[in-house]
């Protein structure tokens, strides 16, 4: 009776301080080996540039397999830091296979 979406929580790649190639490998593994329909690339703050690099490289490599950028969205997280309200930008890029190709 579970309403959980397919692969919930499994097809997410969080971009952090590791080398770019690590994240590209994770993305490719999700899309290739596990045959996931899509992968969600999440990033925050200064790692957003790296997330775009990871998405662009993965798209280029997997283009022949019909992998495209399905959506890009940004938002902000607000939190208290040393008594001050601070905001950090967040980004979510979804890479997915085009079903029609």
């Amino acid at each position: 009776m579970s309403e959980e979406p397919k692969n919930a929580g499994e097809n997410i790649v969080f971009i952090g301080s590791k080398p770019l190639v690590n994240y590209i490998k994770s993305i490719m593994m999700q899309l290739n080996k596990r045959n996931a329909a899509e992968v969600v690339i999440k990033s925050r703050g200064k790692f957003i540039s790296k997330a775009v690099d990871a998405a662009e490289v993965s798209k280029r490599v997997l283009e022949k397999k019909g992998i495209k950028i399905k959506s890009i969205s940004t938002s902000s997280d607000s939190f208290e830091k040393e008594g001050r309200r601070t905001n950090i930008s967040t980004m979510e890029i979804i890479l997915a296979a085009q079903q029609s190709q």
Copy 2:
């Protein structure tokens, strides 16, 4: 008889190495004073994170005026550097007023 779009080439803000606040001011000026329908925020490489910050802050400040993120797209530029083919990620964020509000 010109087919040129309104404000062509004028409503673009390129994000670079200046302080974030400079770009936020440029974006606000475009949307407020010049009454442009939209502003295009362009960025490349490591400046992409700053572009998202600029867009998110501007959106937050101008939310009451109906300014929203209309679209986000990424791409890559390919060029020759020291005999090697190099790619750089690029991003374009369009901030625009919602006509219906």
